[in-house]
Point group: C3
Chain length 470, copies 3
Amino acid sequence: MSTPLHLHEDRLFPADPAVRQIARRLYAEVRDLPILSPHGHTDPQWFAGNAPFGNATELLLAPDHYLFRMLYSQGVDLNELGVPSRRGPSNANPREAWRKFAANFYLFNGTPSWLWLNYVFAKVFDLKVRLEPSTADHYFDVIGEKLATDAFRPRALFERFNIEVLATTESPVDTLDHHHKIQSSGWKGRVITAYRPDAVIDPEHEQFKDALQRFAEITGEDVYSWKGYLSAHRKRRADFAKAGATSTDHGHPTAATADLSPVEAQRLFEKVTSGKFTPTDAELFRAAMLVEMAKMSEEDGLVMQIHPGAFRNHNRWLFETFGRDKGADIPEKTEYVQALRPLLDRFGNSKTLSIILFTLDETVYSRELAPLAGHYPALKLGPSWWFHDSPEGMLRFREYTTETAGFYNTVGFNDDTRAFLSIPARHDLARRIDCVYLSRLVAEHRIDEDAAAQVARDLAYRLPKQAYKL
Amino acid sequence: MSTPLHLHEDRLFPADPAVRQIARRLYAEVRDLPILSPHGHTDPQWFAGNAPFGNATELLLAPDHYLFRMLYSQGVDLNELGVPSRRGPSNANPREAWRKFAANFYLFNGTPSWLWLNYVFAKVFDLKVRLEPSTADHYFDVIGEKLATDAFRPRALFERFNIEVLATTESPVDTLDHHHKIQSSGWKGRVITAYRPDAVIDPEHEQFKDALQRFAEITGEDVYSWKGYLSAHRKRRADFAKAGATSTDHGHPTAATADLSPVEAQRLFEKVTSGKFTPTDAELFRAAMLVEMAKMSEEDGLVMQIHPGAFRNHNRWLFETFGRDKGADIPEKTEYVQALRPLLDRFGNSKTLSIILFTLDETVYSRELAPLAGHYPALKLGPSWWFHDSPEGMLRFREYTTETAGFYNTVGFNDDTRAFLSIPARHDLARRIDCVYLSRLVAEHRIDEDAAAQVARDLAYRLPKQAYKL
Amino acid sequence: MSTPLHLHEDRLFPADPAVRQIARRLYAEVRDLPILSPHGHTDPQWFAGNAPFGNATELLLAPDHYLFRMLYSQGVDLNELGVPSRRGPSNANPREAWRKFAANFYLFNGTPSWLWLNYVFAKVFDLKVRLEPSTADHYFDVIGEKLATDAFRPRALFERFNIEVLATTESPVDTLDHHHKIQSSGWKGRVITAYRPDAVIDPEHEQFKDALQRFAEITGEDVYSWKGYLSAHRKRRADFAKAGATSTDHGHPTAATADLSPVEAQRLFEKVTSGKFTPTDAELFRAAMLVEMAKMSEEDGLVMQIHPGAFRNHNRWLFETFGRDKGADIPEKTEYVQALRPLLDRFGNSKTLSIILFTLDETVYSRELAPLAGHYPALKLGPSWWFHDSPEGMLRFREYTTETAGFYNTVGFNDDTRAFLSIPARHDLARRIDCVYLSRLVAEHRIDEDAAAQVARDLAYRLPKQAYKL
């Protein structure tokens, strides 16, 4: 009763035969380039320990909020899918959870998860039939068997995937032990970290108090004084840089920045660390810290990434029961023109500082971000992000930004994923879609084909390498 | 001097021959499915009385704000088009009004009204020539003659249109007499009502005071006490459910919701019914009533529809002279992520309550609505609405929502129309456009064709049936 | 080492062969129509003096912020490109600046500047090879030689470009000497002015104080009294009308309008001219002046253009160093529904006053502007503007506005440019894109081809002529 699974060679390419031919030629230029993954959320422990992954549910379903949120939206309990809660691991049987997933796989029709997963199934696991209720057990068995082999251990997959660099993201209170272990292991895979200080910068973060405490311990600084707090950041940034980091990352609710005087900054710092602060104080502190981080980046050369605009943990009950990152983060309107001005007044004309902007609010592509990046030397545009990391999302990103900012104020693709096995699928999709956009321009005589091929290669390899100083 | 009128079989399908073939095959799956019309504004009196319609102007032009607003925007007076004012019926000669319309029909080039009307002309009235000045009288005569025949009475058309269910929309102070008459008539057509309580919920509605008075009379409740007011709602919801209603509908200026304590709610109720309230009070009361309505829906099972975002009666002079619904309602920015949180905190994780969201602000499709509906079990997305009930509008809806929410968090099509004769045209257009979107996905190997056919059938029939509990 | 430069006859047309055929046929209808340029920023001195233009850098690069801002965003100094600063002219060697530009011309891949420039290179200068580092000197030489010939003087180019009317834009404190000289010269070219009073209306404009002073001198009115100030406007509007003006233009930060009583207006005027005013006062004064301008337009018949939404001079250091119009104006969110209501309450139903709306915020096309223009007789929609004056931008404009407002509430194309030589390129691009949009409608049977041809002709010629009373 099963149906063949087949990845079409021309998938995602335009239907028109002439345009498809152009897309094929462009794609041939980039298909086999190494993968640069300068921003993501894989676990460095995988590459440090190189232990085999578990089963299909543990590896592919339970940690992937793109997947379980869709089933949740249709009335499936997270516990049934193997998702751990605050009380501990799920008690679901992994095979049963996988069957549940297979029974609901049709929900992903038309979504990028369908494309990514089928790539993983076909290319990584060499599965020949579609995932559907009748093949759920076959999938579970085949995936489990393969994961137990050496060829499917993290380092082997890393090499098979032709990854040149993979960046993970760590908190300032992370010991970076996994990264040190990778570095000293003799393994040639380049896995680097990135400095993501939200937990010690955002006074409204639920871990703020604890994180500050650990920040003090790990740095030996008096992080409750403004001066010590800044020194602690400097120390840890240096540690991160030693562990390979070339960038920082900032996931604030808004893009607000503020350039405070040292006295103002110190007073505000005392307020937010006293625990007696308003939401406005918290917002101002995050804003001020973006400028502080920029100052440090001018010194130490780390590229700044700003990822604003998510209302985290929107579902109160789910957050209380299951915790963070459970598919309940919802984008909000995000303003950049006023918000970034204090930062840009100070660093916008810098040729050494590089700030990469992301958004979850597509309305700002043509209205705010492309005009800003098409003018300020310090600004570049990150790729379409999260909900917009998809064929339509990527096409819109190019359609809305290219005419004002061009291709060369963008930085190629970020997979931004925890789903290690999907990395080749995601980069392949991104390369294909850039070729789709370019093929249309070529067919409409809006760019020369040799220039389009150069752009395709630059987007796939040169621009991320340069923008992230890899 | 007339030109042939011809509905092309492939209208709205993509031009590329291979994609068009796919669209044709998908459309063949849904073309003949019965029509489910779960939300609209036809007049139940038509089906209760089954009297013949009047002439072309009275039936097609004077009541249709899509049409007369376009002519008005180009300097034609509403009175000339047969549109009644607050002072009474228009004194325009219906044939003259129709000629005026014919002379300006070119204004509709590129609009959905052009598509809908040509369908009505060709398929319903079997007209063979285009509407233009030289054929205006021919149209007026043919349409008038046909409307006088039994085959063009409301019930005959209802049957000819293959409508399985048609929902109208009534106010809580409506006696539902027409619906009772239909139910007891022995006619098999299923015409149901929907509970639209804006006039008794919105303190700023111009009918609020009168409506409350009638609300008291029709329910026998003390609607000036908070308890009696809620009881009156419960009673009328039960009456509506008996008259077939499966849903409620809420047309507020914003999507604001508020979960007040009983004491707060009662105080606020006293304020807004006293007549001494601020716009902020009115907004809060509407917000609180959405949560009250949700509570009742959890009990009685009526599906909630929320249609926010219209600035009603924007043209002051026109409103004073001609009244409501004269093409002068203008959309505004509409926020959902913060606005719906009180409602979702209480009911977002419910598997029994179903809330269908609509918007006039397309920027929220990918930013807010798809992420919300792609997570919360209680939420579904209504189709692209009103100004966006159009080929480009529908394509954008799919392009902006599918990758995050999939197809199965949407509910198929609503025609939402007063223009009874256009119902088949509108459903045909919606089915075609869904097939257009799917055909592109198939051609680009982003979905399998058998899955696409299943999605097309589900969107046309199964999903509205299920979402509206029909 | 050079590559041929070739403008493909089908550039910008859809790739699908059948649709391309339709686009070709539609374009043949409009290709050779005269150019109407009812809004732009060319320098009337060119046509008054008819002196030859200088070199490639002075004519094409240094004055064009579309070009130098892109190079600036990639780290090139403005001074190197021949851009003058507040301290005086650039000391860059023009040939060196041009080489710099040629070396970076790849940055414009995918942008409208690439399309416009290649048109200018190929069609105006008859260049046969692409601009690249190896051809930079060839370009500089050829362009310089041609510019020195009589055939490349401003009036000769004006005639060669088949321009029927060209509007420039002047401040109320401009003497209009160049226009008078053109008028009395016997030359038949029609170059008209437009009334752009921002400098005497916006209390926050850096020239406000000086401009008021000159406004007094040039009109002989007591412009520091409310009555005299209004009289000065009336006088100058009459002067402008005599110099051919048919329109006014208003470039405010927002679309706010306010209908104040004479007493309120006078008080506010006294406040803003005293120099002691808040940003709120300034905003209200600009808002009130839009209504005052509308009153005068009802009297003198000048069409009003409103161009809101740019945050001017966003880059503080650049503004202080280089001044205005240096590519650092960034769009912001812009609201129209509430903002325009005072103006529309007063004039929205007028059949004599005509107000043309523009936006830099594409989100308002379908949400606000199309519904407003599709209803109010006084409103029309200007074309996609500035950052959105591009193939994708124009297609989006049609896709987002046509279904609600139709084609006939729009006014054809404005080139809005200082770059005189690019005018034919820009109109050609606009005509092609309108044909692209129409060809898709024809191919999908959403419009009849003869109607589409009529629409194409109307957009290219009849509608701008009528809307701007040319």
